[in-house]
């Protein structure tokens, strides 16, 4: 970019930022001295012309006087000029350095176009974004000519997606001096949008992951044959069994989800049941899994009347809550289960000492396919594999019983999920 264009941009920027009247008074002595000098030089020229004709001599003295006057004038002019111009140049230089530093430190590309649409400034990020195998190609921005202010256009550049937004540069006097374009590399966002968590993508990913492990270890056993060390064989078999269980659970979830999906109310097979007994059975069945994650369960039972509920569905809801308690309590600790009878409701409260739920995730945890971003105490992300169906299923099942599910949680403070059920399932 040429210096004139750069100065013009800086000047336009300066005017827009801080308009200043020119100080004419500074120039007054200069104008006065120039007038006097011109008059003296004029007189001298006339004398030089007329003197020989008049036979006059001694013009040498006049020459010296005028030469001195001229020297004083030139010197004075230079001093005045330097006094005026030097600070201006300094300021211009400072502004330029500041602007260059700011533009250089911005991660987004910034391009300035003159009113004719020519690129007259591009910061390093813009140069990087607009450089292809064929070098710097600012001409790709031509498609954004005439783009409305605030409108965003996406350009594809050798595998990169660049979002370009434009804004007009207008001076305080209202003169249009060009356009500023902001370029942002949105390749990742674009890819993420396209590889979005659509239901099928998500299910596909969740099913393929355990399959990769099962297939891999089966291959290892096939290829390793008798050479396989017992420890490796053991690892392969355990992994295959573990991944098969994961896969089976996911398939159950998917099938279950189909029955929960879009069918309005869930069909229940209700019977009179003792909620305390159901929780007892559940904790006994889950004892091994709970112990495996170093959770210590306690069960505080209240005296409860029998309720009318679907035992299979209710157990499924409780299992989902226990499953989450185990998954999201990486450091173990007390797992408190408690029942309560309050008014015409009974409740089961499950309190875990886990990582808790962020305020951001909390309003969405019962949404279908929602998977939060839980982290442990060290800030490491926890495994959230699954079909994102667990809490949605809990809510659906409990609401089908005419009940409600509530949660109290905070990051690092554990979570308490409460299932509230009416003493009798309401009639349809």
């Amino acid at each position: 970019m040429d210096l004139i264009a750069r100065l013009r941009c800086l000047w336009a920027g300066r005017q827009a930022q801080r308009p200043r009247p020119i100080r004419y008074r500074i120039f007054l002595p200069y104008i006065y001295l120039t007038g006097v000098t011109l008059a003296l030089v004029g007189c001298f020229a006339i004398l030089r012309l007329l003197a020989p004709a008049a036979g006059m001599r001694g013009e040498g003295g006049l020459v010296i006087i005028f030469a001195l006057a001229l020297a004083l004038q030139v010197g004075g002019s230079l001093v005045i000029s330097l006094r005026v111009i030097w600070p201006l140049l300094n300021r211009l230089e400072e502004d330029h350095a500041r602007l260059t530093a700011i533009l250089g430190s911005i991660a987004d590309g910034v391009v300035l176009r003159d009113p004719q649409g020519r690129v007259i400034l591009a910061n390093p990020a813009a140069v990087h974004l607009l450089t292809t195998r064929r070098g710097f190609r600012p001409e790709v921005l031509e498609t954004t000519n005439g783009q409305a202010q605030g409108e965003v256009q996406r350009l594809e550049l050798e595998g990169r997606t660049v979002a370009v937004s434009t804004g007009q540069v207008i001076t305080t006097e209202g003169a249009f001096v060009g356009e500023v374009l902001v370029l942002r590399d949105v390749t990742r966002e674009t890819l993420v949008e396209r590889t979005k968590d659509s239901f099928l993508d998500h299910i596909g990913h969740e099913l393929r992951t355990p399959l990769t492990v099962i297939k891999g270890y089966a291959d290892i056993m096939r290829l390793g044959g008798d050479r396989l060390r017992p420890a490796v064989r053991e690892r392969a078999i355990s992994a295959i069994l573990e991944q098969t269980t994961t896969l089976a659970r996911m398939i159950d979830d998917i099938i279950d989800m189909t029955s929960l999906r879009n069918n309005g109310r869930l069909a229940l097979r209700t019977q009179l049941l003792d909620l305390n007994a159901l929780v007892d059975d559940l904790l006994a069945d889950w004892a091994e899994r709970i112990a495996a994650v170093r959770l210590t369960p306690t069960f505080e039972r209240a005296a409860l009347p029998q309720i009318e509920a679907d035992p299979r569905r209710l157990r499924q809801a409780m299992e989902a809550l226990l499953h989450n308690a185990c998954r999201f309590s990486p450091d173990g600790g007390p797992l408190r289960v408690r029942t309560e009878h309050r008014g015409d409701e009974v409740a089961v409260h499950i309190s875990d000492p886990g990582v808790g739920i962020s305020a951001e995730d909390l309003p969405h945890i019962f949404d279908r396919f929602f998977r939060g971003k839980p982290v442990n105490g060290a800030g490491e992300a926890l495994d959230v594999r699954g079909v994102g169906q667990g809490l949605y299923a809990v809510k659906t099942i409990v609401e089908a019983h005419g009940g409600r599910v509530t949660v109290e949680s905070a990051p690092g403070q554990g979570s308490t999920f409460s299932v509230w059920l009416p003493l009798a399932v309401p009639e349809d």
């Binding site: 993508d201 393929r208 990769t212 492990v213 297939k215 573990e242």
Partner: protein, 145 residues
């Protein structure tokens, strides 16, 4: 100076960058079975840190990188490898369990400079080994030109 596989009688070093521990383990076990070295990194953060070292030891011959993982994604890590002073010419294999929309696979390949993109479940391990060997040989031939 770190040894390349040439100097170790056909042994290779695989750089495995995968956030799923079970898949990481199965690839590591496969390397163990073949007598290869494996450097295993669990996400894009670890991979970025690893690539800050200009002379990693042992020097990998091939990188198997999952696309979608915490931190920088696989294609971004691939691009970092291609810009690495010592590793820029190693084989790069991208892996994914996702369906990629039309054109996205090419975009991931183009950004990462990967040699191939594999969908999970991965091909049989002996086919995978053959593929890796072909890629590594082709990369060496290119570097030798």
């Amino acid at each position: 100076m770190s040894q390349s596989s040439d100097e170790r009688d056909g042994r290779m070093t695989w750089l495995i960058i995968e956030d799923d521990h079970a898949i990481r383990d199965v690839l590591g076990t496969m390397c163990e079975l073949w007598g290869f070295d494996a450097v295993m990194l669990k996400d894009g953060f670890q991979a970025s840190e690893y690539l800050q070292n200009e002379t990693p030891v042992p020097q990998p011959d091939v990188a198997l990188i999952d696309i979608r993982m915490p931190g920088p994604w696989g294609h971004e890590i691939g691009a970092k490898i291609r810009a690495h002073p010592r590793l820029h010419n190693i084989g790069i294999i991208l892996m994914t369990a996702y369906e990629l929309a039309g054109g996205d696979a090419e975009q991931y390949m183009s950004i990462s400079g990967a040699d191939v993109l594999l969908y999970k479940p991965l091909p049989p391990m002996d086919d995978l080994l053959e593929l890796v060997q072909q890629i590594v040989e082709r990369r060496r031939a290119l570097a030798g030109r």
